[in-house]
Amino acid sequence: MQNPDKFTKEKNLTPIILAMKDLKELYEAVITGDAVTARSITEEALSGETDPLSLVSEHLTPAMDEIGRRFEASECFVPELLLSARAMKGAMELIQPRLLESGVELLGRVIVATVKGDLHDIGKNLVAAVLEGGGFEVIDMGVNVEPEKIVETIKEKDVQIVVLSALLTTTMPAMKTSIEAIEAAGVRDKVTILVGGAPVTQRFADEIGADGYSDSAVGAVAVARKAVGA
């Protein structure tokens, strides 16, 4: 995938200039969805002095915020959003092991799931990607997820935040069932539960006893950060 020749020229530059130039380009690469460039710059930066956490907080997160804003404003659409998410995820794959190595604590462990009966996952995938870019460790449980599976994972993986997505009016009740299962299993106090997806509203979130709601992926990160006090 990667083109090894592409960056030989830049390797001749002095490290300081390289770092500054590249990092601005990391933001741009995520915005334009250029996964190859995003990875190369991240690799380069990690081989130097750059603090891995600042790559996330100063470049990846702002880039996903900006692309999210453009999406809300109909300045870009689902393909562009998914391209950016992919570019960001590629960079995150390189950064995460380094974060763990350096002992930096991630903001928290999150599970994301589309609830039982529902197969829509574009929005859920975006929320997962943006949370990852926002400094969370994400466990993606996929679509059509049984409440029992969610409970199991909370118990096994010491999860702090549960993100539930539903796109169908007919599957919104499964959010309630999932929350009830979490309660019944005695782990409700351990987790913050966020709900979202096009038909979900703040009122519905309140009714079923969720802890947070947002109508966008970027909003999801803000609520999640608040939940862990970051």
Partner: protein
């Protein structure tokens, strides 16, 4: 004037006794006859019974064979999951064209080869036999963007537009040929109209829509017109950025979902385009009451003007109260297209 005559007259610009009524029902229709949805989607006799029962009970002007997006993909060998009380769905992580190179060896399935397309064609034939004189019979096919999403996986297709545009064009080319054959067989079975569902087209934005999707939709629509059938275009979701292009497709009926205002559709699509919709299926049809349905459809009619067919923005949810459908009917039955005549 019966339902079939009413719809045809409106489309041809002749006088009609009242507004035509063409809401989409699928799970609702199965429920009406107490059938489970798996049977509705896989057995044409169950579907025809549900459609005819529902159309006669609520005096709809048409019957329709849509059940889920997976008919064509199933015949192409895609992995499909069936549910008792939900539409069949494609298993995306085992998409038929997860490996792009499989396209080269993928053969267009014979629509009459005994698969799910054949079942849809049988549904058309049975509906024509039972009610074809009184009600308009509408077949169904998937549009290029929706079908490509079904074969390739929607998340992957969205990236393909940038990663490999040539592949997307080859895939669309394959799909158009398959859909034209499927349409041909439904028309031969007696369908008056072919509904063209291209849900994913509302996700790609105006640039990709115009460059990739539109030319193929156009080819498909022109092809169906040449076969002598009508075309109804149904793109779910927010189509506001592409309304102008949709007008240039020259479909006989264009559905607008609740996210695309009829007023804007009318402005962008000109005075002659027949528009259908765009009542919010969930907030108004399912969760509202008869009064809200009546006031909403009246407002839709006002915005759309006389080239208008009564319906919701998308499928009527299965647990919609019957009074609300009755209210939809009562509005259509008591109004002529030209508001001044009513």
């Amino acid at each position: 004037m019966n339902g079939r005559e009413r719809i045809l007259a409106l489309l041809e610009g002749r006088e009609v006794d009242r507004l035509p009524l063409m809401p989409i029902t699928m799970m609702f229709a199965a429920d009406q006859i107490g059938a489970n949805y798996r049977d509705y989607a896989t057995d044409y006799r169950v579907m025809a019974e549900g459609q005819i029962f529902t159309a006669e009970k609520f005096d709809f002007d048409y019957v329709n064979t849509m059940s889920d997006p997976a008919r064509e993909a199933a015949d192409c060998g895609a992995v499909i999951e069936y549910f008792d009380n939900q539409p069949a769905a494609i298993v995306e992580n085992q998409a038929r064209l997860a490996d792009k190179t499989d396209l080269a060896s993928l053969k267009i399935p014979d629509p009459l080869g005994g698969g799910r397309m054949n079942n849809g064609i049988n549904a058309v034939a049975l509906m024509v036999e039972k009610v074809g004189k009184e009600k308009l019979v509408e077949g169904w096919i998937e549009g290029p963007c929706a079908e490509a999403a079904d074969l390739r996986g929607i998340n992957t297709l969205m990236l393909d537009f940038y990663d490999d545009p040539a592949f997307v064009r080859d895939l669309f080319e394959f799909i158009i040929e398959m859909e034209l054959r499927f349409a041909r067989a439904q028309i031969d079975a007696g369908a008056d109209s072919i509904g063209l569902g291209d849900a994913a087209a509302s996700l790609v934005g105006p640039q990709i829509y115009e460059e990739f999707v539109w030319p193929f939709e156009k080819k498909l629509i022109d092809g169906i017109h040449e076969m002598g059938a009508l075309v109804r275009l149904h793109i779910c979701g927010n189509t506001r950025p592409i309304l102008g292009d949709m007008a240039r497709l020259k479909c006989d009926i264009v559905d607008l979902d609740f996210l695309a205002p009829l007023e804007e559709g009318r402005k962008k699509m000109g005075p002659d385009q027949v528009l259908l919709g765009n009542i919010d299926p969930v907030r108004v049809m399912r969760n509202g009451n008869a009064e809200l349905v009546t006031s909403t459809v009246a407002e839709c009619h006002r915005q759309a003007g006389k080239r208008y067919i009564v319906g919701a923005g998308c499928e009527i949810p299965y647990d919609t109260p019957e009074e609300n459908i009755q209210a939809l009917h009562d509005y259509a039955a008591s109004h002529r297209p030209d508001l001044d005549d009513s």
